[in-house]
């Protein structure tokens, strides 16, 4: 296939196409049906026919106007327009404000990758000010680590970074961290659920039980909260226990990371975790390992046990993402 060096460089026609390295495919070329604007293509209709709307050099051929149609004018130049260049002296930054846990740290993720770590004050407030950013849609994620070294669920916001402006986003409230005294409890034995949140906030705990019961606890001045649960009344099986906080009707979080607790005598075989390399994080490395098993029956990446590593498992990985 092809001739010459197999470097996959651009070919200006089908005849000029060049093998990609390994010679299993061609590099980009005019006639491959893909509009490669970076190589000056105005069109690419996947052929080398000159008698259609796209010529053999991938330049547009306007169709002949029907008889009697008015002629088409040219686009006027716009005075003073400077296409696509952002002046360097205009700042494009973001300021992000919210609440996590008192005197602890919050890891900031931008588009899934960690970019900074900020500290919170005694009221659990944090503020992050970015450097110069590229305008456009961005996802910022926040992972809090409390004083007991427990991590929160990743809270995300998606918004447009406005060019030449300081975009401030407030009211980013991280849900409480949550820990349990044991992940396997015999019915009737006590279970202690604890964590950190905003000082003096009310914590609502969802036990994901058939009774639909929710419990609550009050955080102290240090943000610590704890609750002892009578497990005798809970159904046998796994319970995904999660917590949310409310300080005022306007300062409250959604439910955070769920902790699985098995209530019963014999625990079923363990489930696999999105932390595929076991380093305590769920990040790009785990995602890469996950992709290797895509559409296979690999049990390590089939988190929901439906027999295939698919988008449902990807969704579970994104839920547990720590960056």
């Amino acid at each position: 296939m092809g001739a010459g060096n197999n470097i996959g460089s651009y070919g200006s026609s089908t005849a000029q196409r060049v093998c990609a390295p390994g010679c299993n495919s061609y590099g980009p070329y005019c006639g491959d049906g893909i509009l490669q604007a970076r190589f000056g293509e105005q069109c690419d209709d996947g052929n080398s026919d000159n008698n259609d709307l796209c010529d053999t050099s991938c330049h547009t051929i306007p169709p002949a106007p029907p008889p009697g149609a008015p002629s088409r004018g040219s686009t006027p130049d716009i005075p003073g327009a400077i296409p696509g260049v952002v002046s360097a002296d205009l700042q494009t930054r973001v300021v992000l404000k919210g609440k996590a846990f008192p005197l602890s740290s919050v890891k900031i993720l931008r588009d899934g990758a960690p970019v900074d770590v900020v500290r919170t004050d005694a009221n659990a407030d944090f503020i992050y000010t970015s450097g110069q950013l590229t305008p456009g849609t961005a996802t910022f994620g926040f992972v809090g680590t409390d004083r007991a070294n427990a991590q929160s669920f990743t809270t995300s916001v998606v918004f447009e970074i406005v060019q030449s402006a300081v975009t401030t986003v407030e009211n980013i409230f991280l849900p409480p961290t949550i820990s349990v005294s044991s992940t396997h409890v015999t019915p009737g034995d006590p279970l202690t659920i604890s964590g950190f949140t905003v000082p003096r906030a009310t914590v609502t705990i969802d036990l994901q039980d058939s009774s639909k019961a929710t419990l609550s606890a009050k955080a102290d001045d240090t943000g610590a909260w704890a609750l002892q649960v009578d497990t005798a009344s809970l159904a046998t099986g796994f319970h995904a226990i999660k917590a949310a906080f409310m300080l005022t009707p306007f300062i409250k979080s959604g439910f955070g990371k769920a902790v699985n607790v098995y209530i019963g005598r014999d625990i079923p075989s363990g489930a696999s975790s999105p932390d595929l390399n076991g380093d305590g994080k769920v990040n790009l490395i785990d995602f890469s390992i996950f992709l290797i098993s895509w559409n296979t029956s690999d049990v390590r990446t089939d988190f929901n046990h439906d027999g295939t590593t698919n988008l449902a498992d990807f969704s579970i990985m994104l839920f547990d993402w720590t960056g």
Binding site: Q91, T154, S156, F159, E160, G254, S315
Partner: protein, 313 residues
């Protein structure tokens, strides 16, 4: 002195809803009428409608006798992770892609000047016949959106395609996609190249992991410098040079050809992990070597005893 504007938004991250509503995948175009030879950008949007979601797989159908999908842009997408590259099949008339948002997407935040709900943009060219016609660009029923609930639950989903009126003559003087690419002088975002070794992955061999985004025309592909040339590559990639002596150079290239070289820190590379097969082979060879030494020593001692026991002649 020029001062920056200030834009305020309220995340209201606390208002993550608990009610189950239907998310909506939709397609829109700047106009609903195009002519033969026109190129336009169709935007695929995800409206969460009070539901936090984090991943989607999307399949779009279009009539191949009227339209041709010529490119796909991730430039404005809220997705930062993609399961493979978006696929355009010009024979079947389909565009498919899958991606997600770490931490989930809970909708537009108050004050955001943009809708911030784009998941992808498809560039179409009208190739239709000379007669006026209608072209429907639809979202296939196989499309899925998943809730951000840690359980992999599919969201209830509404699908909204778009129907376009096609004329026999062009309706626009310029190609908006070429204009967008031409205006892009900014390279992809800076990114780290991590080199890893995991016992059960690629037999413990060193592999590179990388990901970035481009906010303008969108990311096109990655390349790695190996064997003296730049080769197209995707993450994860098993490195040819397992000694790592030649370094690791990976670059991201956007649709406009702007290039960003990834940051590689050789000091962050973990020790090489060996697969069980390699460890088994190593210990087998070690065992054989030890056994050979023992046998040799045994025979040497035996020969020495025989020599010392035999009477002097």
């Amino acid at each position: 002195m020029r001062r920056s504007l200030s834009v305020a938004m309220l995340a209201l991250a606390g208002l993550i809803p608990l009610t189950a509503n239907a998310a909506t995948l939709s397609i829109d175009t700047p106009k609903t009428s195009y002519g033969r030879g026109d190129t336009f950008i169709a935007t695929v949007r995800l409206d969460n409608d009070n539901e936090c979601v984090n991943a989607a797989q999307v399949e779009i159908d279009y009539p191949t006798n009227l339209l041709r999908a010529v490119d796909f842009s991730r430039g404005d997408s809220i997705f930062s992770l993609w399961v493979g590259d978006p696929q355009i099949d010009t024979e079947k008339g389909t565009v498919t892609f899958s991606g997600g948002v770490p931490g989930g997407y809970c909708g537009r935040i108050a004050g955001d000047p943009a809708q911030s709900n784009i998941i992808g943009e498809i560039v179409f060219t009208v190739v239709g016949n000379d007669a006026e016609n209608k072209a429907a660009v639809n979202l296939a029923a196989s499309s899925r959106v998943y809730l951000h609930d840690g359980l992999g639950t599919p969201a209830l989903l509404n699908l909204k395609g778009v129907t376009l009126s096609l004329m026999p003559v062009p309706t626009q003087d310029s190609n908006p996609w070429l204009a967008q690419v031409g205006d892009d002088a900014t390279p992809p975002e800076s990114f780290a190249v991590q080199v890893e070794s995991t016992r059960d992955v690629f037999g413990g061999k060193y592999y590179a992991v990388f990901s970035t985004v481009d906010k303008q025309s969108g990311l096109d592909h990655y390349e790695i410098f190996e064997d003296g040339v730049w080769n197209r590559v995707s993450s994860p990639h098993v490195l040819k040079d397992q000694t790592l002596n030649s370094g690791v150079m990976i670059r991201a290239i956007d649709k406009a050809g702007n290039i960003r070289l990834g940051d590689y820190d050789a000091k962050s590379v973990p020790p090489r992990q060996y697969s069980f097969a390699e460890m088994f082979s190593f210990y087998l060879l070690l065992g054989i070597a030890v056994l050979a030494i023992i046998i040799r020593l045994y025979f040497a001692r035996h020969a020495a005893r025989e020599n010392s026991a035999s009477p002097a002649s």
